[in-house]
């Protein structure tokens, strides 16, 4: 039994093998391999336009790939049937870069939308869970009846996270969750992700440019360059790396300001 658990932990929750994605003649991802382990927060960095969002969207099935395989929760997404796929989709939550809240629904309806579709529970329970989710992401209950157009940028991110967490997923994808937030708000968001990972046992796949997030929130960092993962490891590994882009990234002016 202990062995089983050990295996379960070692088993990657996302296993990406030899992924190639092409838009016209440009090859964005070229034979990329990546594992995300259960329960970790993986920070995913790389130069702008390197294809970080493309990889995220490929894993969640929004961008078609030319070659390679993707396994999430041990299910190969290409050979899975609809119900298997639906099952996988229920177990992940996605936070889009711009929030992607449904603009014609209130915050409460946004958060309840996945519950309404997937669970047959009473309105009362949905309302209560919504309040719990709002409290978890650090929003006041009053926000529930507002529309997305009436929220600030930081609040939109929080509500989007609450919606991503609506069904208590095992895995969340965060696409630049702290971009556009003030440093204090961004720091709070990092703490929030950490807390949620601890309390809910989440696995987090986080695309980010925020060095603070990398230092404070992430367990492991993967770096994308030239369509491949050029390095993966802890923050210490990254700092020790001799790769020119990594050296610039982790030893540049902004990085020094974070470390000191």
């Amino acid at each position: 039994m202990a062995q089983d658990i050990q295996n379960a932990i070692q088993d990657p929750i996302i296993r990406v093998r030899d992924i190639t994605v092409q838009f016209g003649a440009t090859r964005v991802l070229d034979g990329l391999n990546l594992d995300v382990k259960r329960g970790e927060i993986l920070g995913f960095v790389g130069p702008s336009g390197a294809g970080k969002s493309v990889l995220t969207r490929t894993i969640i099935g929004l961008v078609p790939k030319v070659a390679g395989s993707i396994e999430v929760f041990g299910v190969d997404l290409d050979s899975s049937n609809t119900s298997q796929r639906r099952n996988v989709e229920r177990r992940w939550g996605v936070l889009f870069q711009q929030g992607a809240l449904f603009s014609s629904l209130t915050v409460r309806q946004n958060i309840q939308f996945p519950m309404r579709e997937y669970l047959r529970v009473s309105q009362r329970l949905m309302d209560e869970i919504t309040m719990a989710k709002l409290a978890m992401v650090g929003l006041k209950p009053e926000v529930a009846e507002r529309f997305p157009s009436e929220l600030s940028g930081g609040m939109i991110k929080r509500v989007a996270l609450a919606r991503a967490l609506s069904l208590d997923p095992d895995l969340v994808f965060l696409d630049e969750p702290t971009s556009g937030l003030d440093p204090i708000g961004a720091g709070d968001f990092d703490d929030l992700v950490r807390t949620l990972q601890r309390t809910l046992g989440l696995t987090v796949f986080m695309v980010t440019h925020d060095l603070d997030s990398l230092y404070t929130a992430c367990d492991r960092i993967a770096v994308l360059g030239n369509g491949k993962i050029i390095a993966a490891g802890s923050i210490a590994d990254m700092q020790a790396s001799q790769h020119p882009w990594l050296r610039q990234y982790f030893h540049g002016k902004r990085a020094r300001a974070v470390v000191t």
């Binding site: 014609s104 209560e128 409290a135 529930a144 009846e145 997305p148 157009s149 807390t195 809910l200």
Partner: protein
């Protein structure tokens, strides 16, 4: 290990233990909710109750909240129901839900008679606002047009030409096709009914007058309102949603001059052209049917047409076109700039743009009919 969730009642001395077992997660939420609702009925009993969660295999927010809800209902007065056997993994989650306020704030708006009356009142008052908005936009467009006349270089020529291509050139096939078919139908119906009086040839009079004065321009205007008015509203509306219009304003540009004026100009230029092409297509279609179905050969048709209609009929039709174009354009732009932040609002305003556009086109047509009748054209 991952079994169906259960909530067993086990008596322990004079206390009652509610032993939660199995998977307490979202997938089992409906079952869990029923079990918890059942257990809540135990509240107020003589025994003291505690909740034992040591056997729970898996817990998420749903499970944690339901346990917390049960704990709250079982709490009587100052005596709190206790949760026992909470593993370290889940204690932070339970702490998290413990902070949640029990009753969500939901304002349920009920439908009352006064509410309905208020709604009607607001709608009526809003009509005045609509007209004022249209006049406001007309003024703004005329002012921007005046500025462009003084400084002709500030006209966005590229933009105007682009929109002209969109609303005029690309509309030609569908407009010509539809008006052609309408011409055919009018001629066929005319011949079918006039034949009984032996008045086949008068179908040419009817076709000429109807197409040139009314149907040609009206039909084309309605099609343009549906085709280009809606496009204008959707374009401006999504620009408004994404703060592009605010961005223009902060750079010192007048959105009316940059966005609305080129669109209006394109439409005002396009509609007379389309109306002319439409009228010609309808006459052609009518002539074709008259020849093939009614036996009026083309020569007789043209001869009769020359007698039946004068240049006045053509002028009456074509003069209306730019005015209708302006009405469609103004309605579309007002609606586009009124879009709020949501996708629903964009849909509502696009619908309103087409509906109001067509309505005002028909109203204008009526006004023109009275005007031309009184000046004897």
């Amino acid at each position: 290990m991952n079994g169906d969730p259960k909530l067993e009642r086990i008596a322990k001395g004079n206390a009652l233990a509610l032993c939660a077992t199995g998977t307490w997660t979202a997938s089992f939420a409906p079952v869990l909710e029923r079990m918890v609702a059942d257990a809540e009925k135990l509240a107020g009993g003589p025994q003291s109750i505690f909740i034992d969660v040591s056997e729970v295999a898996k817990l998420d927010t749903f499970g944690a909240w339901l346990i917390e809800r049960l704990r709250r209902s079982l709490t009587q007065g100052a005596v709190e129901a206790q949760i026992a056997g909470l593993s370290a993994n889940y204690s932070s989650l339970v702490d998290e839900v413990r902070r949640v306020r029990a009753t969500p704030v939901i304002d349920s708006s009920t439908i009352t008679i006064t509410g309905m009356l208020e709604q009607i009142g607001r709608t009526v008052a809003g009509l005045g606002g609509t007209v004022a908005g249209l006049i406001d936009m007309l003024g703004a467009v005329l002012a921007a047009g005046g500025r462009v006349l003084i400084h002709p270089r500030s006209l966005r020529l590229t933009s105007t030409v682009h929109h002209l291509e969109q609303v005029c050139w690309r509309a030609v096939p569908i407009i010509v096709l539809i008006t052609f078919l309408i011409g055919c139908i009018i001629a066929q119906q005319g011949i079918f009914h006039f034949r009984r009086f032996g008045a086949d040839i008068f179908v040419v009079d009817m076709l000429g007058v109807l197409v040139l004065r009314e149907i040609g321009v009206l039909l084309v205007a309605i099609m343009v309102a549906g085709r280009s008015g809606s496009a204008y509203t959707a374009e401006l509306g999504s620009m408004k949603m994404r703060e592009e219009i605010d961005a223009l304003r902060t750079m010192g540009f007048d959105p009316i001059e940059v966005l609305v004026l080129p669109r209006m100009l394109a439409l005002v230029l396009a509609l007379p052209i389309l109306a002319f092409l439409g009228a010609m297509a309808a006459l052609y279609g009518g002539g074709l049917v008259a020849w093939l179905y009614g036996g009026v050969d083309p020569e007789a048709f043209l001869l009769r047409l020359r007698d039946a209609i004068s240049i006045d009929h053509f002028i009456v039709g074509i003069v209306k076109a730019p005015v209708m174009a302006a009405v469609i354009g103004i309605v579309a732009c007002v609606e586009g700039l009124a879009v709020q932040g949501s996708a629903e609002s964009l849909g509502q305003h696009t619908t309103a743009s087409v509906v109001k556009g067509i309505f005002f086109v028909i109203v204008m047509d009526g006004v023109f009919a009275i005007f031309f009748a009184s000046i004897g054209m």
